[in-house]
Symmetry: C2
Subunit: 207 residues, 2 copies
Amino acid sequence: MTTKKRGYHHGNLRQALVEAALELIEEKGPTGFTLSEAAKQAGVTPAAVYRHFAGREDQIAEAARQGYEIFGDLMEHAYEKGRPSALASFEATGRAYLAFARKFPGHYISMFESGVSITRNPDLAHVANRAFATLERAATELMAGLPEDKRPPARMVSAHVWAMSHGVVELFSRGSPGTRSPFPPEDLLETGIGIYLRGLGLIKPDA
Amino acid sequence: MTTKKRGYHHGNLRQALVEAALELIEEKGPTGFTLSEAAKQAGVTPAAVYRHFAGREDQIAEAARQGYEIFGDLMEHAYEKGRPSALASFEATGRAYLAFARKFPGHYISMFESGVSITRNPDLAHVANRAFATLERAATELMAGLPEDKRPPARMVSAHVWAMSHGVVELFSRGSPGTRSPFPPEDLLETGIGIYLRGLGLIKPDA
DNA sequence: TGTACATCAGTGAACGCGCGTTCACTGATGTAC
DNA sequence: TGTACATCAGTGAACGCGCGTTCACTGATGTAC
């Protein structure tokens, strides 16, 4: 829809295939994606896929890579928006995590549930690191506001928030096991992180 | 190995199939499990499976069901062990979550990553609820120790802890995306819950 | 501007594979007399 | 104890299916002269 770069025949088949894959993954889960069906959805023979990807695995990896790219951008935006308040920045990155999962479920699943191995794909590892580095940077600045003797490692703090965000998404933001969520996921994450930050001594114990 | 009930030919094929499924799931992920291979591993023709299960889906569901059963037992044990201290009970259930994921990875994956739908299977819903009810009971008791005006709903507190536990397992306890864990998962969860509880005002702000 | 050629994105047919599921069967086990 | 019968767990062959992947090809696009 945007820049129609029009290649030889199809005009950007590669991206069309990625988008087809994302739709399939979103609809039918990570298992539901097949190279053949993605090709069909893009109006092309399965064999054509091999002009653009090494195979099925590679196609998912590209979907995940684009996901990490978007994710990283969102995190950075959130981080910047909260500045100069370290607390606001940190909270915003947490919210951004959930917002990303909601808005880009296909990407999210590709990244975290498709079985794509980050360790085996250096490209992926690189973009993924950028996203997580933002969260960690926010944590580092946050810790700077604490007395040194009661300052947990920033990596640990970011890991905690990452874990809670991920847990909320997996358990309560999609129809996985938790029947239905007892609370809106956004509220759950907001209050959870709020209590956590109070535990760090960063929020006054008001109400 | 234990009670050899010896049925007609095989002697408890049903359970042997469940165990084969668990091994396969543990080894090769939720996708890696196939009815045929489970049958083969149990030394039996694929068709034999249909004497004991309605199909592939049903076989995974039974693996998950047994997982929830074990999980529920572990949670209850942890809960009882911590008594009469509500705090100890609550912390113990959190730890039990991670211990379960570590000790019974096949079950864990069947329950949370296999795509088995709890809502569509009443049997499953029932055993799952028992497990989560324990966590919630622990949370309720814990909240009783707080002044009423600053007492978040027990359901919410248990959801928070559940989410963080699940997140730690998914992200740092297995080789998913997080490269390698920056900290031992047990420590991560312990400290995370510790900070959270402090935020609730349940632990003194000592060290 | 027109023609000859090179490129290479996508085709279409074919492959071998393992899957989940069905079916009529067989033969070991348990039971009634 | 021995015989006839009923049960039903597991067999073996077959099925249709869609998968990922390969290959020689074709024909539209871009380029050199």
